[in-house]
């Protein structure tokens, strides 16, 4: 079997206090991966901290949002011939020791997307009540549309194979955010697997979700989902970048 090139993408917005530690931990726990920090237009020295920790860095000229930062990582992976991309959050909530478990189904079982779930097994991650209700709802709707049980649609800890990387990198106008992304990928015929992961409490910095966003999110989600369902199915683009 040919060796697999794996890229860990860490989207980071003003995470200079955490990003270095996360990069180092990823390198320690998974020495076989390359690490790319996508600095999403930070105003602190996130990029310098990432470089100092020995990561590759792509710095966006202004803040595009978490999702576009991740997508920048996919474009990088697509153009540089990576086979697998793993998204890890810069705030240190994901456990780099679980990267192996996230990658295995892609390499050994031919899955295109492996989604880390906080709720597939009870591992003591506490979620505020309203957020939990929301997550349940998104999971239920996503499962119904995909015809496959998904328990956690908002956890960012995921791995993607080549076909998924190409989808993300080359459909510039499509929104692959969170569960809607899963729906787009599932409709394109990609195979999705969920595995249980552990998510830590935040080490520092603030959560990316503000109150207003939390209020708008469900509407945005349903609207995006409807948009995806009425549009033509996307197919996996072939060939080189």
């Amino acid at each position: 079997m040919k060796p697999c090139r794996i890229l860990v993408v860490i989207p980071a917005y003003n995470e200079s206090s955490n990003v270095g530690r996360v990069v180092q931990e990823v390198k320690r726990e998974a020495p076989y991966v390359d690490v790319l920090v996508v600095d999403d237009g930070s105003t602190d020295n996130t990029a310098a901290a990432a470089l100092a920790a020995g990561s590759l860095v792509v710095k966006l000229p202004f803040n595009l949002g978490m999702f576009e930062a991740v997508r920048t990582g996919f474009v990088y992976a697509d153009r540089n011939g990576y086979d697998i991309t793993i998204q890890v959050d810069a705030d240190g909530q994901h456990v780099p020791a679980e990267i192996g478990a996230l990658v295995d189904p892609v390499i050994k079982e031919g899955f295109d997307v492996v989604v880390g779930s906080r709720y597939l097994e009870s591992r003591g991650y506490r979620t505020p009540f309203f957020r939990k209700v929301g997550i349940r709802f998104f999971a239920w709707l996503t499962s119904a549309v995909l015809g496959q049980r998904i328990t956690d649609t908002t956890c960012g800890f995921r791995s993607y194979g080549r076909r998924a990387i190409r989808m993300f990198a080359r459909y510039d106008s499509a929104e692959f955010k969170d569960s809607v992304g899963l729906v787009i990928l599932g409709r394109a015929g990609l195979k999705i697997k969920e595995i249980p992961v552990t998510v830590r409490e935040r080490a520092g910095g603030r959560s990316t979700i503000s109150t207003i966003k939390a209020f708008i999110y469900p509407f945005d989600f349903v609207l995006s989902l409807v948009a995806v369902l009425v549009r033509k199915k996307l197919t996996v683009p072939g060939g080189e970048a």
Binding site: A47, L51, A52, V57, V58, D172
Partner: protein, 136 residues
């Protein structure tokens, strides 16, 4: 009813608008493509005002009682069309801007890699950051 006075007033406004649009095109403040939609709107409104029989028949066609409401309706409709057109453009632009931002970021990273080949890339990035801060 559209009185001759209202008609003169409306036509005067139309002419002023047309002049403003043409002047903006002349000074390159407005692209020809966008001026077209505005000129079309102004001309259409002028025709509605000046051609009373057309206005009256449209008024009875849509069931309005007063010709001036027909004028208002069309004015609002035209404004809505232009707004929709602009929203469409803004959507396009934001997609293009996102793509461009990503391309710039990728090119910048490549440039740093090429420049940093042989020397310490960390130092290179640090310097660039400091000089950026100096400018800002």
């Amino acid at each position: 009813m559209i009185t001759p006075r209202v008609e003169r007033f409306a036509i005067a406004i139309s002419i002023i608008l047309i002049l403003i649009v043409l002047d903006m095109v002349r000074r390159r403040k407005l692209r020809e493509r966008y001026s077209l939609i505005w000129l079309f709107v102004v001309v259409a409104m002028t025709v509605l005002v000046a051609w009373e029989r057309l206005l009256l028949s449209i008024t009875s066609l849509i069931g309005a009682t007063n010709p001036s409401s027909t004028l208002f309706l069309f004015g609002i409709l035209f404004a809505l069309v232009i707004l929709l057109h602009l929203s469409n453009k803004v959507s396009d632009f934001s997609t293009q801007l996102r793509i461009l931002a990503k391309e710039v970021a990728m090119l910048n990273a490549q440039l740093l890699q090429v420049r940093g080949a042989g020397s310490n890339p960390v130092e290179g990035q640090g310097k660039r950051q400091r000089s950026e801060e100096g400018q800002g």
